[in-house]
Amino acid sequence: MPIRTHQSAAGQVNSRIDNTVRTWISHIHVDRGIGRMLVLLVIAFALFAVLNPRVFMNPLNLQNIMVSAPEVGILAIAMTLAMLTGGIDLSLVSIANLTAITISTMYTGLVGSDPALAESLGGVIVLVGIAVGVLAGLINAFLISTVGITPILATLATMQIFNGIAIVWTGGKTLYGAPQALSAVGKSTVAGVPVLFLLFLVVAIVIGLLVNRTPFGRKTQLQGANPTAARFSGIRSASVLYGTYLTTGLLGGLAGVLFVTRNPTASADYGTSYVLLVIVIAVLGGTNPMGGFATVTGVVLATLVLQVVQSGFNAIRLSSYEYSIAQGVILIGVMVFDQLRFRRRTRYVASTQTRNIASMSNVGEDADETPDTAGADSVETK
């Protein structure tokens, strides 16, 4: 009868060292969402660099990628925040358009009477535009938190409303004109890197810190992971939801500013393809649509992957339709890869019931699933 003795002191020290090592390893695991996007980015980049180096590797093209990534990227980060709480924000693009339209309207109105004043008030105009975004976010927060409407329905409705307002306001036409200072910023670079891209990185870092290094961000993650336990831990869902949707509104507004910065125009139907694109990016970047888990770094990388693919498709003369096929294929590819890994690693983690019942429908048939024989599995759920 083998009886185990208690751990010796040396054993305990050993196990502590073991502990530290394991902690490190598990950090690497968590970052795998980032890892696979890095790999994809390198592959995509190398592929197009080989297929059409003259066009793709042209500095102008590379600059272009860096100038067009930020607006999509910021929207994707906003989407990630909403998904972190287990929600979604479909109204982001229409918020951005409202902001762009507000800026353009105010500017052209002022320019007509006093061009110098219009230019000097550029900063104020931009702030008013962003405030419109925040206000839109407040409406979302009110509907979701105070009224209690499911995020997908609430933001579907506000998307329609904001979009409708934009169409009525512009008469469906494209508005021209935006503060010239904005265009100047849009064209400027620091050491060859567009200022817009730097701005995108700053936003990503700020949101990354917000999510991981502030009580608010941690509460957001916990709320998304298990709302009941969050309530029992004294986390107020209202403050989490208001904070989240105000921030997504703010980021939507910021994206709207980028719209007019790249092109001094504004219309109600700009970027309609972005709505679903940013969901794709968020998920590719490792965001769990059920809430609770996300990495901003992963989302930044996923944004770049898709931008590189889009620009590469241009370089090898494939159309935007083929690009949208590629988006879908990449998404499915990554999900399949995830599933395979997930199955291998976490068979035993999933609740017993699901598998039980799932395989019970085979009772009586001889379609027994072959049991997997993977041995040493790691403890990880992401």
Binding site: R4, N19, R22, A230, Q353, R355, M360, G364, G375, E380
Partner: protein, 500 residues
């Protein structure tokens, strides 16, 4: 009773299972005889549930074989297990939260019989039959997610019993049940056993184990350390076999000294349908036990203290300041912590790491100026509590879902100790926790109380209350009916008053 030398219906040999470096089972063998109740005992994390899941095909062993009626099964799956007549009451119940009680009870049987269409109405009689047989008052049409833990457990039990099992595994089936339900369950277990069903019973309530079992197998850290006839064991010798040491459960309470101003005062709390006219107080450093039968209102009383329920009248004050009724935030900021009964859904973020769970309740106090979290202080809190509560896990980064029951409960405790509460309320803190860990948890509570924390503990486990509480209150039909003070605390008398 069945013959001793009958052939085993099920036998496992040399089962090995490793989870990412953790050896959950290390060459375990066991055989089950028809008509006998076999107890599987062991500390938290010793591998009991893992062994059951391997036999029922939910988990796949890394080595070893499973024989049914002497025939080796290669590649066990849940479907095969069911066909072989194996039924399991899983520790986590494994119910469908969005279906009704009746549907949960009948659905698996319906699927097993390969019915393609499921008739909701027809599910009722079958479910009703088993509920009646057990003499339960379960609402068959209630959604499972709205049920109390006890009712969910009863649903899981009914589901396993409704089908004709040859081998029945019961993984801690009585954690949420009180005396009377347990008695009825055991009645049924005896009936099944007389019919020749082989039963495996897992429980941390050792007196229960000895009452019902014929054979015993003891696991420790995944290894088989003892097996034999249950009659040869006492609670004490079983404890020693499980833990490798003697666990001292004699009464040991902190000396409160002279009674000063109370920490908590509850005065004339009323909530129609739940409790009436509840008044008591709690001194700093005092451990107060509250007990009563299921549905007596004892749970509702503490839920009202934590702000989960809003009492209709009455007041609660902490250090003289009144709490806002029905506000969790007000209770928490007054320094009240609450370890809920349903730790899996209410207490833990299962997919999150141990570290994230430990600081989930004290994020604000770990931030500089309420804005930026201090990584250093967080790391300190986490490692202090991780070591102090001796949570058994490969690292603090492991998800809580991978922990055994007792360890998961320590994480919930750690979460609340991190908030440095003035008053800690615990609802069934040692449910499903092994003898050794239970004693350690009680020691942690005693130590915390010695530093001035007031503790209110709800428990069914009367001996546990006796071993730690300064005072015990008894709730019957929503009212406080008795109070036992230091010298009068005695298990026998408490049980009598409870049941009266």
């Amino acid at each position: 009773m069945a013959e001793r030398n009958e052939a085993p219906v099920l036998e496992v040999r040399g089962i090995v299972k490793v989870f990412g470096g953790v050896t959950a089972l290390d060459g375990v063998s066991m055989s089950l005889l028809p008509g006998r109740v076999h107890c599987l005992a062991g500390e938290n994390g010793s591998g009991k549930s893992t062994l059951i899941k391997i036999i029922s095909g939910v988990d796949t062993p890394d080595a070893g074989e499973i024989l049914i009626d002497g025939e080796a099964m290669s590649g066990m799956t849940p479907a095969r297990a069911l066909r072989a007549g194996i039924q399991v009451i899983y520790q986590d119940f494994s119910l469908f939260p969005n279906l009704t009680v009746a549907e949960n009870i009948v659905l698996p049987a319906a699927i097993a019989s390969r019915k393609k269409l499921f008739n909701r109405a027809r599910s009722r009689p079958g479910a009703q039959r088993i509920v009646d047989e057990l003499g339960l008052t379960l609402d068959l049409d209630a959604d499972v997610e709205k049920l109390s833990v006890a009712d969910r457990q009863l649903t899981a039990i009914c589901r396993a019993l409704v089908q004709d099992a040859r081998i029945l595994f019961m993984d801690e089936p009585t954690t949420a049940l009180t005396h009377s339900e347990v008695a009825r369950l055991f009645g049924l277990v005896r009936k099944l056993q007389e019919r020749g069903v082989a039963i495996v019973f897992v429980s941390h309530k050792l007196d229960e184990v000895l009452e019902v079992s014929h054979d015993i197998t003891v696991l420790r850290s995944g290894q088989l350390v003892a097996s034999g006839d249950a009659r040869e064991y006492s609670v004490q010798s079983l404890t020693v076999a499980m833990t490798g040491r003697d666990v001292d459960t004699t009464r040991l309470v902190n000396d409160l000294g002279k009674r000063g101003a109370p920490l908590l005062e509850v005065s004339r709390l009323d909530l129609p349908g739940a409790f009436t006219d509840i008044s008591f107080d709690l001194a700093p450093g005092e451990i107060l036990g509250i007990t009563g039968l299921l549905g007596s209102g004892r749970g509702e009383i503490v839920e009202a203290l934590f702000g989960l329920l809003k009492p209709e009248s009455g007041t609660v004050t902490v250090n003289g300041a009144a709490l806002r009724p029905g506000s969790i935030r007000s209770s928490i900021s007054a320094g009240i912590g609450y370890v809920p009964e349903d730790r899996l859904t209410q207490g833990l973020f299962l997919e999150k790491s141990i570290a994230d769970n430990i600081i989930a309740g004290s994020l604000d106090s770990h931030a500089r100026g309420k804005v930026v979290l201090s990584q250093k202080r967080i790391a300190e809190t986490i490692s202090t509590l991780f070591t102090r509560l001796r949570i058994k896990a490969p690292s603090v980064a492991a998800p809580v879902r991978s922990l055994s029951g007792g360890n998961a409960q320590r994480v919930v405790l750690a979460k609340w100790l991190a908030t440095k509460p003035k008053i800690l309320i615990l609802n069934g803190p040692t449910v499903g926790v092994d003898v050794g860990s239970k004693n350690e948890i009680l020691t942690i509570l005693r130590d915390a109380a010695r530093e001035g924390m007031g503790v209110i503990m709800i428990s069914d486990d009367v001996p546990e209350l006796v071993s730690i509480c300064n005072r015990v209150l008894i709730v019957r039909r929503g009212s406080l009916v008795a109070e036992f003070d230091s010298e009068q605390i005695e298990a026998q008398r408490i049980q009598e008053v409870m049941a009266a």
